[in-house]
């Protein structure tokens, strides 16, 4: 069942009222469909409008042309059922890790109006989530006491605590070293296998995309279009060992080839 559907979407940045900020076409005739519970990656050269795609789905920007539908409805305003993660962990530095993770519960209904009664339950929920990403015992720490990888783990918890139906990740592991990154692939895979929410991951790391996704979409350079969609048939759960299998390497190689072509056009 199609859950997220972008049809022929254009997005133009800039108001066009003055010449200095000439309109930039960030995304052009992008069409993409994502199944409920699917893990999808979008890869492409930098500046190709990958992040814009996430903003469109989240309803943070409106398409200049075409339609964005989630669960059969047109996206008119920011969706409240998404969790987002970025390259910067963007944790609030004045809150400890647990309170950072619990932030969505203070905003999203129905949790918001039940905050006081459910305080203990929410803390437990945050701690459970922190444990699943390997941060048990770190709830009381302040964000700056955590390493970059740990901050990203905490950010994943914040993105998931209100049980969103869609998780949007914008190069969440790009700033991490290779070992930490690969460790977090398996954390994210586990979270997804367990929760089965729909995930859209924007990345420029092809191995990451193949490791984690059911489908990988390749975007051309700006203005971004989807030039190739490959499904990844590898069995779950995938391990680091799988990344050295011939069919994995084959897929990565093939994607690399398409990105190269996308740059030329």
């Amino acid at each position: 069942m199609t859950f997220i559907q972008l049809t022929d979407v254009d997005l133009v940045y800039g108001s066009g009222s003055n010449a200095a900020t000439a309109d930039t076409l960030a995304v052009s005739s992008a069409s993409i469909s994502v199944e409920q519970g699917e893990f999808v990656s979008v890869v492409g050269p930098s500046g190709c409008g990958k992040s814009t795609l996430l903003k469109l789905i989240a309803g943070l920007v409106r398409p200049s042309r075409g339609s964005v539908q989630v669960d059969g409805r047109n996206v008119q305003a920011p969706l409240k059922t998404v969790g987002m993660g970025f390259q910067n962990a963007t944790l609030l530095p004045w809150r400890n890790v647990r309170d950072n993770v619990m932030l969505p519960l203070e905003i999203v209904e129905p949790y918001r109006s039940r905050q006081k009664q459910d305080r203990d339950k929410n803390i437990e929920r945050a701690e459970t989530l922190l444990t699943t990403v390997g941060l048990s015992g770190f709830g009381g720490r302040m964000p700056w006491q955590l390493s970059g990888g740990m901050q990203q783990r905490a950010q994943l918890c914040r993105a998931l605590i209100h049980e969103p139906s869609i998780l949007l990740l914008d190069e969440p592991f790009a700033a991490l070293d290779t070992f930490t990154r690969e460790e977090l692939w398996s954390v994210l895979q586990e979270l997804w296998l367990f929760r089965k929410c729909t995930v859209i991951l924007v990345t420029h790391e092809l191995r990451e995309a193949v490791y984690l996704s059911e489908t990988v979409h390749v975007m051309s350079s700006r203005p971004g279009r989807i030039i190739k969609s490959s499904s990844v048939g590898l069995s779950r759960p995938r391990t680091l060992e799988s990344t050295f299998q011939p069919d994995f390497v084959e897929l990565v190689h093939d994607l690399r080839h398409h990105i190269g072509r996308g740059k030329q056009t």
């Binding site: 903003k55 409240k80 970025f86 963007t90 932030l103 203070e106 905003i107 720490r141 006491q145 914040r158």
Partner: protein
């Protein structure tokens, strides 16, 4: 002597050095006491006139704190408005800068016409001098919130007031307290100016009267009282700042207690 105790003694040593230089200058150039009194004469005047200095000092402290208090509230509100909306920034900021560029001393006579002589012009002048740094700092804090953080909040469906309360205000606190330390010292300047021009009490008034009687040691004693009050208030806000926004000064000494991780 440990590094820590040098740290603690440093401000007192520079203060002492200042007094020594002051004294040396008088001795070396043979300056008359009605031009520049010695530190001792100043101290003496402070003791002789301790009564008037105390009551007038309190009066100045009161007008300063009232003007400063209003400046903090107004500054915070204006700062939030100017910092949260680009339109408000464009609309209000030039006016605020223009307002701040006007020499406040020149406005005191106008305040006297409006409010009469006395405490009110001092309060208004203290307010006028001290609200701008608060506005500017709070506005900067609000305007520099990471865009990703706003996206996280918006994607959760946060309202403008959610963003202000949960992100904007806590994030602006370090900027806010930094501005308080500047604002309180400016507030003293404001109320003393107003008292000199049109006061019937306060440290400024003491200075005016003492000056016209050529009692220069008393003028200096009065200046010292203002300076001491300024340092005192500064220290209080510095202390409050450390307590409230420890997360923003994650530096050296906090790190040692909790360790890395």
């Amino acid at each position: 002597m440990t590094r820590n105790s040098i740290d603690r003694l440093a401000p007192w040593l520079t203060g002492l050095g200042f007094v020594v230089v002051w004294w040396l200058v008088i001795v070396m150039f043979g300056i008359q006491r009605y031009i520049l009194p010695t530190p001792w004469e100043t101290l003496n005047a402070m003791y002789t006139f301790r009564g008037p200095l105390f009551t007038n000092g309190l009066a100045t402290l009161a007008t300063t704190l009232i003007g400063f208090g209003i400046a903090v509230v107004v500054g915070m509100i204006l700062g939030i408005i100017v910092g949260s909306s680009r339109l408000a920034y464009r609309a209000l900021y030039p006016l605020l800068v223009a307002f701040n560029s006007v020499p406040k001393a020149a406005l005191v006579p106008i305040f006297v016409i409006w409010f009469g002589a006395g405490a009110v012009p001092a309060v208004v002048t203290a307010f006028m001098l001290s609200f701008f740094p608060v506005v500017a700092n709070v506005a900067t804090a609000f305007a520099t919130i990471e865009p990703e953080l706003l996206e996280v909040m918006r994607s959760l469906g946060a309202s403008q007031s959610d963003m202000t309360i949960k992100v904007g205000i806590p994030r602006s606190l370090p900027y806010f307290f930094a501005s308080l330390k500047i604002a309180i010292t400016l507030a003293f300047v404001g109320s003393v100016i107003a008292e000199i021009v049109a006061g019937n009490s306060g440290i400024g008034n003491v200075m005016l009267v003492a000056g016209s009687n050529f009692n220069v040691p008393l003028v200096f004693a009065a200046l010292f009282v203002v300076g001491a009050m300024g340092v005192g208030m500064y220290a209080i806000f510095d202390f409050v700042e450390r307590r409230m926004t420890g997360w923003s000064v994650r530096g050296s000494n906090m790190m040692q207690h909790v360790g890395g991780g």
